[in-house]
């Protein structure tokens, strides 16, 4: 039961240390190293120029992605003649893959051509995590006291070329060996036992699945994501993919310590993150794999020893689903190997909690940025308690820094709770959900949580797929169009606000004079401070989201079976 999660977390921790050392060596170099880097480098940037370069680059990416999807029927590598997606779905998909969310309101093998899969999906899956890495580099340089935060274009280039491409090659070859297809031929024709024929969708999946996991992207080649036997063929590929999800975010913490030259600081961050991750994983397994499915109570189903098997991929074993659910939502990845909609209600709180906190290793680069915001809040609270001006890494944390931290912190709950309330109390939400009562609210809540956390996983059960352009005019697609637009806007908002405000915060700290370390200075590299950060994350998370949790998964758990009314 516990061997699988221990193996996955243990392997990830072991591999993250050398990878973190490597990241520091290849990403934190001041001067361009070759002709290409010299061509890309536009010179040192202050925080504003760094952010504006990032936004300009993302604007160009958005337009390019939008055009590729809109022109899909007329572009090459379309052996199965895929048509144009609905305009709202093109917007949603362009925003989703721009923001490293990979929320999919379409089904890959049904709606996208190979050209779109390779030159839209796969391309964005390399570039957007590199943008997250670049943002993290800028924040760390600010905390280190650097006058300039680096060069956005050079940082992004290095993230793609020296980190994501080599890692994807290794993982892609492993997946190929496991049986994941890599071909540009159209769907295969198979003969069924009753004499009929069946189309078996395939394509360049191995390349896309590798970067899908390593870049905390999560968007699957197939609609069923990593439950699909051609996307995740065996128990050992399940372990490879799970380790790939969490490896780079863990290595980012190691890089943080090495770039600062203060590995004690990174150790505190790493241990707190690991504690929450293992806690959520254990909670998921305990409440799902070790508990029966309440919906099957009274039916002649023997659930002893296996727990809730609804929506699970049995090839991987019972604990594989909850383990993946915890890891994929803590890390902002969003790929799935079981249906989160089918988790027991208590276990359904695990992926929601991972995304609500959104800082437990988190997305590549941005997860650690989110954690540092919580850390600044913890420093501030500690300063209030001991009656001193709070300091972090020798710099005073004052009103400006706290305002920026609050902007970064509060956009997430606002972007989840307000639209959830709007959709739950109007026809937009209930018309799209497939369950009544508390479970229906959980479906709405999960969708907005996933969009806001830039996670992209689906609780499933929502009618949020419009389909092709010709389907958009059907009256029953109005709700799905509303989902496309609402979640698309939220993804754009919650990607950039929590990046821009912390970069401004780090630059603000960098501009301050260092404060001498004295006996009264609050140390931030101790186990005590680790406990304070741990408590801050749990308390702030609980204050923000417990009320809505009580209306959704908790009410469902306590309410009449099978689902709370």
């Amino acid at each position: 039961m516990w061997l699988l999660p221990i193996l996955i977390v243990g392997l990830s921790v072991g591999l993250s240390v050398p990878l973190g050392v490597y990241l520091t060596r290849v990403l934190d170099r001041a001067a361009p190293g070759n002709v290409l880097e010299r061509a890309i480098d536009t010179g040192p940037q202050d925080w504003k120029r760094y952010c504006l370069a990032m936004l300009g680059f993302n604007g160009a990416l958005f337009v390019a992605g939008f055009v590729i999807l809109a022109l899909q029927p007329w572009l090459p590598l379309n052996p199965d003649s895929k048509k144009m997606l609905a305009p709202s779905t093109i917007f949603n998909t362009a925003a989703s893959f721009l923001t490293n969310t990979n929320l999919q309101h379409y089904s890959g093998e049904v709606h996208l051509s190979y050209f779109s899969q390779l030159f839209f999906i796969c391309w964005k899956q390399f570039v957007t995590p590199a943008i997250g890495l670049a943002a993290l580099l800028a924040v760390i340089r600010g905390l280190r006291g650097d006058r300039h935060l680096g060069n956005f274009y050079l940082d992004t280039w290095r993230g793609v070329i020296y980190v994501l491409v080599p890692l994807s090659l290794v993982v892609g070859v492993l997946l190929l060996a496991g049986g994941v297809p890599m071909t540009l031929e159209g769907a295969a024709k198979a003969s069924t036992l009753d004499g009929g024929t069946q189309d078996v969708a395939r394509g360049p999946a191995a390349a896309i699945v590798a970067i899908k996991q390593l870049g905390t992207n999560g968007g699957g080649f197939f609609g069923a994501n990593s439950c699909h036997p051609l996307e995740n063929p065996a128990a050992w590929t399940n372990i490879v993919e799970c380790v790939s999800i969490i490896l780079v975010p863990m290595a980012c913490v190691v890089m943080f310590g090495r770039m600062l030259g203060k590995q004690g600081q990174a150790a505190v961050v790493f241990v707190v993150m690991l504690l929450v991750l293992t806690g959520l994983t254990g909670w998921g397994i305990t409440s799902d794999t070790m508990q029966p499915n309440p919906g099957l109570a009274g039916l002649p189903v023997d659930q002893r020893g296996s727990g809730n098997l609804e929506g699970k991929e049995l090839r991987f074993g019972p604990p594989a689903g909850p383990t993946w659910a915890a890891i994929t939502t803590c890390t902002s990845n969003g790929s799935v190997n079981c249906m989160h909609d089918s988790l027991n209600p208590e276990a359904g709180l695990v992926p929601l909690s991972g995304m609500w906190l959104n800082c437990i290793f988190g997305g590549v680069g941005v997860g650690l940025i989110n954690f540092l915001v919580y850390l600044i809040v913890a420093v501030f609270l500690s300063g209030l308690m001991v009656g001193r001006t709070p300091e972090y890494l020798g710099k005073k944390v004052e009103a400006r820094e706290m305002k920026l931290a609050m902007l970064a912190l509060l956009i997430h709950p606002i972007a989840i709770l307000m639209p959830t309330g709007l959709f739950a109390t109007t026809d937009f939400g209930p018309a799209s959900t497939t369950n009544p009562g508390a479970h229906g609210l959980s479906q709405i809540l999960y969708e907005f949580t996933s969009a806001s956390a830039n996670n992209g996983s689906g609780f499933e059960g929502l009618n949020d797929t419009v389909g092709f352009a010709e389907d958009a005019v059907k009256p029953d697609k109005f709700g799905a169009i509303c989902w496309d637009i609402a979640t698309g806007l939220i993804m754009l908002l919650t990607r950039f606000v929590p990046i821009i405000a912390p970069i401004a915060l780090a630059a603000s700290l960098a501009a301050k004079k260092p404060t001498p370390f004295t006996a009264g200075t609050l140390r931030t590299d101790t186990a005590t401070f680790g406990l304070v950060v741990f408590g801050t994350i749990l308390l702030v998370g609980a204050l923000l989201f417990l009320p809505v949790a009580a209306l959704g998964p908790v009410a469902e758990h306590l309410g009449p079976l099978p689902f709370g009314k």
Binding site: K48, C51, L52, L55, N58, G59, F62, V63, F66, A70, P87, S88, I90, F91, A94, A95, R400, K403, L404, L407, A469, A472, I485, G488, L489, L492, L493, F496, V497, I500, A501, A504
Partner: protein
């Protein structure tokens, strides 16, 4: 024409959201 306008509206919506983020950069500068 309907589909073209619908596509254009969606493209402008995305770019407008990114434009708001540019304003947010200047807002953070004044905080």
């Amino acid at each position: 024409v309907g589909l073209g306008m619908w596509l254009l509206a969606m493209l402008v919506l995305g770019l407008a959201a990114l434009g708001v983020m540019v304003l947010f950069v200047y807002f953070c500068d004044r905080v």
